[in-house]
Symmetry: C2
Subunit: 354 residues, 2 copies
């Protein structure tokens, strides 16, 4: 058995994977594979509607919002957000590499006010107490920063529309959707395989920019056609649905949040306790999804040895991103608490050796 701590694409529930295989063999009793059936068939249409409804149910999405499944990844959303919402000026919170990429795209469409940045300390904290320009069309935030291991755990109260990239903590906790005009997430962390993004969008928020939008870049196109304007990424959408159905059985986002808190507390606790390691992120900004840590000052040269030791114990994907170094354990929804306990055991065994 392998212990999968990859940052994304990442661990998924076995049940979701197994159900997707069954559908590849024989989809919804049609005698055809999920890969070979028209997206206009009544069977896939039902799956798409079910996926949208399940997102709404899990996050208690209020009336007036639509759920979309689009290809092209969250990086395409950086562009679409600006295309659809940025008329004159937008506000962005700079909490890391992905936030910076979103900022870069927005600058092609208008003025960008960066309200705060944690770049000064290699993005190891979430900025607080910044002010937001009243005349901005929206504030864009990245709620979880996969590379640096920081997370915004509350829903901001702001006086302008709020748009959040939740790619790496989507569905890991309850969210008050009514506080957002739009939430988006690449599926390949908490809710499915690579290949689709999930978008929750307030319908009233659209139609306020004066530019002409290319068809595929226009959220209204996809709302009007229920995410079926063109052929959607069928398999990815279906597997997201299976992942969300598993999540419902775990007590939904309320249930999984409890487990996620337990898991994160356990692992950060061990990192703080173990003489060999230190966390890279300030308390109060630490992510429950991506736990970053490095070797303690006196043990700097053990970096590679620990990585090799962990690998020899079937731990996969804990090498830190090159921007931070050290280690990163990604502990998304589908990672069981027992895997955290196993990793802690390996960390303690390594500590005893030194």
């Amino acid at each position: 058995m392998k212990y999968n701590f990859y940052a994304g694409p990442a661990i998924l529930p076995k049940e979701a994977i197994d159900n997707s295989i069954e559908a590849i063999k024989n989809f919804a009793g049609t005698g055809l594979s999920l890969l070979e059936i028209s997206h206009r068939s009544k069977e896939f249409d039902a799956a798409m509607l079910d996926a949208q409804a399940t997102v709404k149910r899990l996050l208690n999405v209020p009336d007036g919002y639509e759920v979309l499944f689009l290809g092209g990844g969250a990086s395409t959303q950086f562009l679409m957000v600006a295309y659809n919402f940025l008329e004159k000026k937008a506000a962005y919170l700079d909490t890391g590499a992905w936030a910076s990429k979103a900022i870069k795209e927005a600058k092609l469409f208008g003025e960008v006010a960066v309200v705060a940045s944690s770049k000064d300390k290699n993005y190891s904290y979430i900025p607080k107490g910044f002010s937001i320009p009243d005349d901005a069309d929206y504030l864009h935030i990245t709620t979880n920063n996969t590379i640096y291991g920081t997370e915004i755990l509350e829903d901001f109260d702001v006086n302008i529309p709020l748009i959040a990239d939740m790619s790496s903590d989507f569905m890991s906790r309850p969210v008050d959707v009514s506080k957002y005009d739009m939430i988006y997430a690449g599926a390949q962390k908490n809710v499915g395989p690579a290949g689709t993004s999930v978008i929750i969008i307030k319908k009233d928020a659209l139609g306020k920019v004066s530019r002409t939008l290319p068809t595929m870049m226009n959220y209204q196109t996809h709302i009007d056609k229920g995410s079926m304007f063109n052929t959607p990424p069928v398999y990815a959408v279906y597997t997201v649905l299976q992942t969300l159905k598993w999540l419902e059985k775990q007590g939904g986002v309320e249930g999984i949040e409890k487990v996620n808190i337990e898991k994160a507390d356990l692992l950060y606790g061990e990192i703080e306790r173990n003489k060999l390691f230190v966390p890279t992120v300030e308390p109060g900004s630490r992510s429950r999804m991506n736990v970053c840590f490095v070797m303690n000052e006196n043990y700097k040269d053990l970096d590679k040895e620990f990585l090799d030791f962990a690998t020899s114990k079937d731990i996969m994907g804990i090498k830190g991103h090159r921007s931070v170094g050290g280690f990163r354990a990604s502990i998304y929804n589908a990672l069981p608490k027992s895997s955290i306990e196993y990793l802690i055991g390996v960390m303690q065994e390594f500590e005893k050796k030194h």
Copy 2:
């Protein structure tokens, strides 16, 4: 057993589907699922390189071209083509609904000269003998028109750059890639499941427009990063690779073209012979991929009866598109000749009843 004549997503080789299931269970001996492994892992990196190399091998792609796998569907390519290549004026051949959609996007970026259109006869033929403006940045064609069942079977010789949407006949015959600046195709017809597009692009052709391109819309972004600028649609790319490996075993595009000609000849032959049916497309413009036919004048009222009869015989997906009516049998690479023979048998049985 079902006989799958869907227009897309469509029938795939069983071997490709089975291999993709094996990879979902345990990818490349990693002990992890293809769905759960980092796209930066050396195992997936190898699969991506293999997929690119296999496309190049199959179509004998000359030096100076790159192969890309991008999400968002061919509809996103309508936009990206214009973004990347249209400086002042572009020429488009209007052979159907998808060509018209490509034209609509291009008009957002510059002048569009429609060099010819077959709209006058409900797109039932491929226009010939049209002239192409010398000062256009490129000519865009749609080589196969899924809805109407027409196909351009030769590689045009033109004096300006040629760009082709080959979504529904990609890899069904040899193509002289050197005659094109770009070829693109949604995978979900001949080469894989929905979720990725395959793009073959001449590197020298880029960088000639003066506008600033959004990162994800810029082909250069994806060339520079080998289709891994952001997380690619991992499962779809891998399954395309399996489909292409199957194609190589069929003798590549040269081998499959022979079978495709046989299959199309058989079916059109029966439609011509059978007193109940007539083809909708003129000889010389008929697609080898999508065979459209309707009830003969005297048997118009048998439309629904034939559809029900075929369905009762486990034939799936032959209802014609609403723009044409009647029937459409999509007979892509993976559809065996025996399925054509079976369909013909059903048509003859129906003929005997009337």
